[in-house]
């Protein structure tokens, strides 16, 4: 078996890399794939919190690299889904504790036993990024429809294109607010795709449910009612090669909106 190694990166911090990693990983595992999530944000680990696994971590990626434990000992199984495992980052060390070759080696080993290895990349374009990308052959660039995030994503895309081992990269647009797009206050999905000229793999709406799901340590893909959860499940299906249409994210209109629309139509007739 040869698994696929996908790095989840963004350049800018706070756009939802870790949330995306946790949700895509969980969704892929729920669909029956064997998945490992690697947190490479050494010193600032968070992926364990989002999965609710913070109390189960004994060994970290640094322990593996420094040979204090075997790789399989450091893999923490998810509470609900035995298909999903986490290789946590060390919290008390920094990004120089692991180098690119070591990460590449870990990915090579995991590829033999798992379908998907998702590498959660730290923010920035320094050593942490270079390490996280080292073992990957695919990338998902997470961005939001904000200028700074799009600019950073463009920089990341430039760096990914320069790396031969990255065969393909896709764009995931996070925290999309359809009502702001409709009022022309926010860049639309099409705008961002055009500016970055990259292929889109998912559009995730801004969802307050993300906050509660993070608080509970329960990825939002487990919530069947959530629109963001649905969007993440669709991303997982697209990764598996399915052709899934993009969701219509527009919220059902409120009373005032309906009245406004009525007047717009009336004005057109008069």
């Amino acid at each position: 078996m040869t698994g696929r190694v996908i790095v989840i990166t963004s350049g800018k911090g706070g756009v939802g890399k870790t949330t995306t990693s946790a949700n895509i990983g969980t969704a892929l595992a729920k669909a029956g794939n064997k998945v490992v999530l690697i947190d490479t944000d050494i010193g600032l680990r968070n992926l364990d919190l989002l999965l609710g696994l913070e109390n189960r971590i004994v060994y970290t990626i640094v322990d593996v690299v420094e040979e204090r434990c075997k790789l399989r000992q450091a893999l923490v199984k998810d509470k609900k889904n035995p298909n999903l495992s986490l290789l946590a980052a060390a919290q008390t060390r920094d990004k120089t504790s692991v180098n690119a070759d070591q990460l590449k080696d870990i990915c090579e080993q995991l590829k033999k036993k798992y379908d998907f290895i998702l590498v959660d990349c730290p923010a920035g374009i320094e050593q942490g990024f270079q390490n996280a990308v080292a073992g990957a052959s695919e990338a998902i660039v997470v961005t939001t429809p904000e200028m700074s995030a799009v600019r950073d994503a463009d920089r990341i895309i430039g760096l990914l294109e320069a790396r031969e081992e990255i065969e393909s990269y896709k764009l995931l647009l996070n925290r999309v607010r359809p009502n702001l797009i409709e009022s022309n206050d926010m860049m639309s999905v099409e705008d961002v795709v055009e500016i970055l000229s990259a292929e889109l793999i998912g559009v995730i709406p801004e969802d307050t449910g993300i906050i509660t799901s993070t608080n509970k340590g329960e990825p939002i893909v487990n919530d069947d009612e959530s629109l963001a959860g649905q969007a993440y499940r669709n991303v997982a299906r697209r990764i598996m090669g399915e052709d899934v249409p993009f969701l219509d994210l527009r919220q059902p209109k409120g009373f005032v909106e309906k009245i406004k629309n009525l007047f717009t139509k009336l004005k057109g007739k008069v």
């Binding site: 600019r151 797009i181 022309n184 639309s188 500016i195 717009t264």
Partner: protein, 172 residues
């Protein structure tokens, strides 16, 4: 009474259309345009100073053959699909005639010969003197071309229509 209703109706309409009637550039458009510009700079690594220098060097080169409107010259990098393009738009006042061009080229050749003889000089001094000569040459051209322009009606073309566009493709 009817008028009253009409005005009331219009007031209500204008209230609901406040957002739309503000026909200014939307936040989204501003963001898109600013981003496109900043990304262009990010992707090229060319500073404004270097762009300015490139612009001046191009003008100097082309001025040997054409009389150009320096003020209206426009040089931009643009993104077209997967390729980056250098868009150069230059209003041409008129094409110089052969005699003029020959003179300029001759002067230039002489200059080059002189330089190759004066090899003892510092490199920096060399380039400085070269630039100075270039500027002087240009000024001379402008004066001489004014006189010749009236005689050579055939070559003189309309200012507005004659805009030369040169596209240079660079790899991304």
């Amino acid at each position: 009474m009817k008028d009253l209703f009409a005005s009331l109706y219009n007031k209500v309409l204008s209230f609901f259309h406040q957002a739309e009637s503000k026909d200014k550039e939307s936040a989204k458009d501003v963001a898109c345009n600013r981003l496109k510009l900043v990304l262009m700079q990010d992707r090229t690594n060319l500073s404004p100073a270097i762009m300015e220098r490139m612009r001046n060097e191009l003008i100097d080169l082309l001025s040997k053959y054409l009389e150009l409107d320096r003020e209206l010259l426009d040089l931009n990098l643009a993104q077209e699909d997967d390729q980056m393009a250098l868009m150069l738009s230059i209003p041409v006042i008129r094409a110089k005639d052969e005699k003029e061009i020959e003179e300029i080229l001759k002067a230039e050749d002489e200059e080059k010969n002189k330089e190759s003889q004066e090899e003892d000089d510092d490199e920096n001094n060399d380039t400085d003197s070269q630039e100075d000569n270039f500027e002087e040459e240009d000024d001379d051209d402008d004066f001489s071309s004014d006189d010749d322009g009236e005689e050579n009606v055939d070559i003189e073309e309309d200012n507005d229509e004659n805009i030369e566009e040169i596209e240079d493709n660079e790899t991304k």
